[in-house]
């Protein structure tokens, strides 16, 4: 999702008076959110002049958008990356264009090393769907898919751990002002998030097929 380039709008980290770090304390974040909500929520301005009501609406929607983004680890990472000039949806731009040209639904670009396995998996998914359509079960494919689900779920957990390690790197480099190290950590996170979103979609498809 592309972020709003609304002029003058402070970024979500500054809104919460936080440094651009990726590790954050959820309960502190919540506390700030509650305190700010008490001040900014439109309910506090219902009896005020229209201009104040509109300002409250703008401010509190921004606060809520910020909280929603920062609270969620992945959304937070993607948001920070976007502040660093990375457009996460650039990554799938190529896929979008391809889909447009072909008039089909958008497919994600597979990370190269997953290509082979993903290809195989997609074949199995197709078989499973066919079987389901015919009202049959395909125990062999089912077993294979269950295996794949396990593998990719494990991969997701592994990726999450790696992401946390990258967060630590990022925060350390930011503290130290090491720009070059920040850039390489940033790129590592982009690659990791792409991989993660790819794996997550596979798991989702497998779950659907196995249902």
């Amino acid at each position: 999702m592309s972020q709003a380039n609304t002029l003058a709008a402070p970024d979500y980290f500054s809104l919460f008076e936080l440094p651009r770090h990726l590790n954050l304390d959820p309960s502190a974040l919540e506390k700030t959110f509650y305190a700010k909500s008490r001040r900014l929520h439109p309910d506090r301005f219902a009896a005020r002049p229209l201009a104040e009501q509109e300002a409250a609406l703008a401010a509190s929607s921004q606060l809520n958008d910020a909280y929603r983004t920062l609270k969620d680890p992945i959304a937070r990472t993607e948001y920070l990356l976007s502040l660093e000039g990375v457009q996460m949806d650039e990554q799938s731009r190529a896929a979008t264009d391809a889909a447009k040209a072909a008039g089909t639904a958008k497919k994600q670009v597979a990370p190269p090393d997953l290509l082979e396995e993903a290809f195989e998996l997609n074949m199995q998914l197709e078989e499973m769907r066919m079987a389901k359509k015919m009202g049959e079960d395909d125990p062999a494919t089912r077993t294979e898919l269950e295996g794949a689900r396990e593998r990719f779920t494990a991969m997701l957990h592994e990726l999450e751990d790696k992401l946390h390690a990258l967060w630590n790197d990022w925060d350390t480099h930011t503290e130290a002002g090491e720009e070059a190290a920040k850039t390489s950590t940033r790129d590592a996170m982009v690659a990791l998030l792409n991989r993660r979103s790819y794996a997550r979609n596979l798991v989702r498809d497998v779950n659907e097929a196995l249902d």
Partner: protein, 682 residues
């Protein structure tokens, strides 16, 4: 409490079945009684010349339902913000008489007692009554209100509710979700000693027409909704319809009478069925008895067990949204500290058992919260929120704040009819999202955007909210313009859109065409005066509508006179028609709608044979058939349809039934010799 009446904001529960108004008094919310002493105003509106002011709301309107069903309407909340296609299934179960010639996407119009009204207008009459009750109680004008809506209401349904308020002359400060209001009324954020309490609560709201579930986190006076779910077409009405189906079947089978053809008898039966249902919440059995035309009596006994078997599938339908809401909140049932029961249908013991099970309460030594009257709790909470919004200082409400969520994801239609989600469901509101659009063709100056609400992948499966045209884009090479569109869901859960072209810095024009709903201008023309002036408003409308109809029939008759079939009529017939035509023309000047209607009826009478001849010669005209084309087939024309009617208590049907769910009931009926259907002719 020397509260300035100017600042008084009332809280209104505009229910499917019942509506109430409440206000804070000395730090506690109280419901406001009507002239009859009861705070409950049934959500029934009648337009009937027999009633005192030409219209009636509440219990008085309910009387009309029994004597002149065509002049009254109930459960209109089911139609709020809905489209013709949405309500098709409703028409089989409710006696809604839709106006002729409605187009898809157009705001629905109902014919009630000679008037044509939209659902927000009908609701406005209920609000007028509540406003009047509040003014009488408070001894001063009431112009500001908080109105509650089912949490699962979509944008169109919310907008329609807000329109209803405006039509009733109320400034609607906020739409509050019903379960959230109920949570507020329970004040579970405080311990008995007044100290703050933290915790997670679930509110299960099962009313007449809607079901909601909300999960909230309480923290020092903040009521933060974490997730919500529901079904805007699930409630006590569905239970009533099951019972009705059984009775209709019985009557058809045993007495050979098709009661569905008699609207008044159907209303009487509905009344009896509801009474039996309510009785079954307290007693082990109840008796259904109704007198049919010709003094024949239909009666049967229903046991609690039979009833529970019959309704099991309906109440089980509430379980899926509960599980989904828990999943969305990322909580297990055991993590819910308290469960609050709201809505009249939570009085059904089987419902309580189900909810208790869903949250594993018994094992944890916990009980459902049923202390507050489930009919009143939503209005009480609305009154609390009304005081919060009034901007006046009150120790009780100073620290309270509701943080609610949007129940449905917001998306825009992308290539291939797929929906791209831009605001996920359960996002705290106000919430916004900014999207960028561009052109696909060189020099393109408009871009069409389709906004939807719902969780499905494809646009066709989601609720269409609006189509926008971004206009006035400066002509540029395809793909170069960059139009920023901001979608904002406000604290009422209502969507606002604005747009800007960034390359040229021009403010792109947004023309919002809501897919469903009234325009501001339409609402403006509908605004009702006070309750006391409503009578003359109605009279004026009746005259206008009678004149419109007169003009239509005049036009049609004049046209018919040019047709060859005209020559097939006798000279006498010609004279009679011409005379009737002249008197319709003359009556147009009358200010009495009855005079106009009379002459129309005359002309209708005299042109009957003409209409028939025209039909025969396959000339389809405006004449004839017009009056026959009502959208429904009388109340419950289809209620007894075999798919939905579990022939639960009709022993003759036992062996034929293949449906598994009513089978238990059938079994119960068979095993229980004390409950045969008895039908006597005395």
């Amino acid at each position: 409490m020397a509260e300035n009446t100017q600042h008084r904001v009332v809280g209104i529960d505009l229910g499917t079945t019942n509506s109430l108004v409440a206000i804070m008094q000395g730090g506690v919310p109280v419901v406001i009684p009507g002239e009859d002493g009861s705070p409950i105003v049934p959500s029934v509106v009648a337009f009937d010349q027999e009633t005192h002011a030409g219209f009636a709301v509440g219990n008085a309107a309910r009387e009309v339902l029994l004597t002149a069903p065509g002049n009254a309407v109930y459960s209109v909340k089911r139609l709020m913000g809905r489209d013709l296609a949405d309500v098709e299934p409703e028409l089989k179960l409710f006696p809604f008489k839709l106006a002729d010639g409605l187009q898809p996407g157009e705001v629905l119009k109902l014919n009630i007692g000679g008037l044509t009204l939209t659902p927000p207008e009908v609701s406005a009459y209920v609000l007028l009554q509540l406003k009047k009750n509040a003014e009488r109680f408070l001894g001063g004008p009431v112009t500001k209100a908080v109105i509650t809506v089912p949490a699962y209401f979509n944008d169109a349904q919310r907008q329609a509710t807000k329109d209803a308020g405006r039509i009733a002359g109320l400034d609607v400060l906020r739409l509050v979700n019903e379960p959230t209001a109920a949570a507020l009324a329970y004040g579970l954020d405080k311990n008995a000693d007044g100290s703050a309490r933290e915790g997670i609560i679930a509110v299960y709201d099962f009313g007449g027409g809607t079901f909601d579930i909300s999960i909230l986190k309480l923290h020092e006076g903040i009521f933060e909704v974490i997730s919500t779910g529901g079904d805007t077409h699930l409630g006590g009405d569905d239970i009533d319809n099951l019972l009705l189906a059984v009775a209709i079947d019985d009557i058809r089978g045993d007495l050979g009478v098709d009661i569905t053809q008699d609207p008044a008898a159907m209303q009487a039966l509905r009344k009896v069925v509801i009474e039996a249902k309510i009785e079954l919440s307290a007693a082990d059995s109840a008796r259904l008895a109704v007198e049919l035309q010709g003094g024949r009596l239909y009666a049967r006994e229903i046991t609690r067990a039979q009833f529970e078997g019959l309704i099991a599938s309906v109440i089980e339908r509430t379980a899926a949204p509960v599980r989904q809401a828990l999943k969305d909140a990322d909580l297990s049932p055991e993590q819910i500290d308290e469960v609050v029961m709201v809505g009249g249908s939570t009085r059904v013991p089987a419902v309580r058992t189900l909810v208790s099970q869903l949250f594993g309460l018994e094992a944890r030594g916990k009980k459902l919260h049923t202390e507050l009257n489930p009919d009143e709790v939503v209005a009480l909470g609305a009154a609390v929120q009304a005081q919060i919004l009034s901007g006046t200082e009150h120790a009780v409400t100073n620290d309270l704040l509701l943080l609610d969520v949007t129940p449905l994801s917001l998306g825009i239609e992308a290539l291939g009819g797929v929906v791209a989600k831009i605001i996920q469901r359960n996002s705290t509101i106000p919430a916004s999202a900014t999207e960028h659009f561009t052109t696909g063709v060189d020099g393109q100056t408009t871009v069409a955007i389709h906004v939807l609400q719902g969780e499905r992948e494809l646009a066709k499966d989601c609720r269409s909210l609006a189509r926008f045209d971004l206009k006035g884009i400066p002509p540029m090479v395809a793909g170069l313009p960059r139009i920023e569109v901001k979608f904002l869901i406000d604290a009422n859960g209502i969507l606002h859109v604005s747009a800007r072209e960034q390359r040229s810095g021009q403010q792109a024009q947004v023309e919002v065409k809501p897919t469903y709903g009234l325009t501001d201008e339409q609402v403006e023309t509908m605004i009702l005066d006070s309750f006391d002036n409503a009578e003359s408003d109605i009279e004026a409308r009746l005259v206008i509508e009678a004149r419109n109809e007169a003009n239509t029939i005049l036009e049609a008759t004049r046209k018919a006179r040019q047709q060859p079939v005209w020559q097939q009529l006798t000279a006498d017939e010609h004279d009679a028609i011409n005379a009737a035509l002249t008197s319709v023309e003359a009556s147009l000047k009358s200010e009495d709608h009855k005079v106009i209607r009379n002459t129309i009826a005359q002309l209708d009478q005299h042109t009957r044979r003409l209409a028939e001849l025209m039909m025969d010669s396959a000339v389809s005209g405006a004449l004839g058939g017009k009056k026959m084309a009502t959208a429904d087939e009388g109340l419950g024309g289809e209620i007894g349809a075999p798919t939905t009617a579990p022939h639960a208590f009709a022993p003759a049907q036992i062996s034929e039934s293949e449906d598994s769910s009513p089978a238990d009931v059938l079994q119960a009926a068979e095993n229980d010799p004390e409950t045969p259907a008895e039908s006597t002719e005395d």
